[in-house]
């Protein structure tokens, strides 16, 4: 807990609460993610994890509470502005631009930092052409570093599943984020792929100086890669701590395996 609090805080949520009709999907959620860390948000199905991501990235406006990004209040900021601020994410059910090529997907990610305007395209302004060229090169470079270069001109939905997940991350990186939210990056991967994913996530943090918050069901991945973990159940934070502490926390075991474990253990 001490090492956890020493670094400056990249993302902080304060009393984050959202209600849909009568249902409280997330209730009084307080997260503090230190700069440069890899942390996890876990919990059983329907616990409100993805909802929390949707609030952070501006798709939902919280009923109560605040989202702070490096101290700046970004609560309720529109999604595209949140992205501009430096937060990017992937989706639980991969949302690539399915009719576009792999390269185009990454180039779209570069758009948010693009300075030229649309009307410069037909005018063939040198400034515009230079920037387009730079975006293309940067995208190729990103694909290379992520191992997708051979697929650059394939249509993205023809890729194998694991590659689509990585492409989604590459696309998120193209927006030059400081903070990355990964929603179930290991979903649908076999143990070997999950293992590779863990190395990949660590490498990402190092290479792009990122802070990473992930939602994951595969506990091997969560325990293997996260320094700190928050556990949600019914929208309420039931536990937080390092991987070891979480694994042996009776409340967590109960949330995952059912209540009767306490009697059996």
């Amino acid at each position: 807990m001490t090492t956890h609090a020493e670094r400056p805080c990249a993302l902080e949520t304060q009393h984050l609460t959202i209600r849909f009709g009568g249902l409280t999907a997330v209730s009084d959620l307080n997260l503090a993610v230190p700069h440069g860390s890899i942390v996890g948000l876990i919990g059983p199905n329907g616990a409100g994890k993805t909802t929390a991501f949707n609030i952070i990235t501006g798709f939902y406006r919280p009923t109560e509470g605040k989202v702070l990004f490096y101290g700046e209040d970004i609560t309720g900021r529109l999604p595209h502005l949140v992205c501009k601020t430096g937060i990017s994410r992937t989706f639980q059910n991969i949302r690539l631009f399915s009719n576009e090529t792999v390269l185009q997907n990454v180039m779209i990610g570069c758009h948010v930092r693009q300075k030229s305007e649309w009307w410069m395209a037909p005018l063939m302004l040198p400034l515009f052409n230079r920037e387009e060229k730079a975006i293309r090169e940067r995208s190729y470079h990103l694909l290379e570093s992520i191992g997708l270069l051979p697929y650059a001109n394939e249509i993205s939905n023809s890729l194998p599943y694991g590659a689509q997940r990585r492409l989604e991350i590459a696309r998120a990186l193209a927006t030059e984020p400081r903070f990355l939210l990964l929603d179930e990056p290991a979903a649908g991967m076999n143990p070997q792929e999950s293992l590779e994913l863990m190395g990949f996530i660590r490498a990402l943090r190092k290479e792009y100086d990122l802070t990473i918050l992930l939602i994951e069901h595969d506990m091997k991945v969560v325990m293997g890669v996260c320094e700190y973990i928050w556990v949600l159940d019914y929208g309420v934070l039931i536990a937080e701590g390092g991987p070891q502490a979480i694994q042996s926390n009776p409340k967590v075991i109960e949330a995952y395996l059912g209540e009767e474990v306490t009697a059996d253990a």
Partner: protein, 297 residues
């Protein structure tokens, strides 16, 4: 405006409104289930009027029998349209079904143009319906009473089917959750066909009464009532049968009353509905009685 005039306008408005309402119900039922704007619906309205015309003029059938046959025939046409143009596209993007709907609409219109010719036909109005009766100072056509009465009877019948019968139950279930309804052993395609059949029957009934009220029919007569009825359905809240009827009534009222009070705007008559549509879509896209459909992230 005198009170008498106002009452007469009111009767006109109710007549027109209930005709819009009947057509609107078909849009709302199909949209409620398939999320599809059935562009061909207005053309079923037109077919109803033509079948009625041929029944009475060509085959010399009595008015009532011709009407029943016309409604049944149009209903079959509606089911047929679903079978040919929409059912193969159930899994396709919704926009494909929409383009298909536009195609079918044009097909029916132009096929009618070929088969029935483009000449407007004169419908025979039963005499008792158009003999003006006077109540005190107020002069009205019996039609202005008959049409709303029939319309409301039909709507009550439909509500009975939807709320009191087993297929009706399945229909309501499908509009919320097709997959779960299938799990209960419901044949979704049959229920959808039923929805098309019922909606088309009401549209045809409306077309027939429209032809009695405005006794000139032509192959494109369904286009504008169709658009307006769709707007009425959106106004009332898409997916709600009661809403469609209320929306139709209000639209009829708005159209007739604006012209009654501001005759100089009569040239813009066809624009009212569209302006209303845009206002609704911007202010309250769920309409008066509709429920919100949510996007899932």
């Amino acid at each position: 405006m005198s009170f008498n005039m106002f009452v007469q306008h009111l009767f006109n408005a109710i007549t027109l409104g209930s005709l819009y309402g009947l057509v609107a119900i078909g849009y709302t039922m199909v949209y409620g289930i398939l999320r599809l704007i059935n562009f061909a619906h207005g053309d079923i309205f037109m077919l109803g009027a033509y079948f009625m015309f041929f029944g009475t003029v060509t085959f010399n059938l009595p008015w009532g029998i011709a009407a029943v046959i016309a409604v049944a025939a149009s209903s079959v046409c509606g089911v047929f349209v679903d079978r040919i143009a929409f059912r193969p596209l159930r899994d396709a993007p919704r926009i494909s079904a929409l383009i298909s709907a536009i195609g079918v609409s044009f097909l029916i219109e132009n096929l009618s143009l070929v088969l029935f010719t483009g000449l407007p036909r004169q419908v025979i109005q039963p005499e008792w319906m158009v003999k003006i009766i006077t109540i005190g100072e107020i002069r009205i056509l019996p039609l202005a009473i008959v049409v709303p009465v029939i319309a409301f009877t039909l709507v009550l019948g439909l509500l009975w089917i939807v709320y009191r019968t087993k297929p009706g139950l399945a229909m309501r279930a499908i509009s919320k959750d097709i997959e779960t309804t299938r799990l209960m052993g419901v044949s979704v395609d049959k229920i959808i066909a039923l929805a098309f059949g019922l909606g088309s029957a009401l549209a045809a009934a409306s077309g027939i009464m429209w032809a009695l009220r405005y006794p000139q029919i032509h192959p494109f007569m369904g286009v504008f009532p169709g658009f307006k009825a769709f707007i009425a359905a959106v106004f009332g809240g898409i997916g709600s049968i009661q809403g469609a009827m209320i929306g139709g009534m209000l639209l009829g009222l708005i159209e007739i009353m604006i012209i009654a009070f501001f005759p100089s705007l009569s040239g813009y008559r066809d624009a009212f509905a569209f302006i209303l549509l845009i206002v609704i879509l911007l202010m309250k896209p769920t309409g008066l009685m509709g429920e919100k459909l949510e996007d899932k992230i």
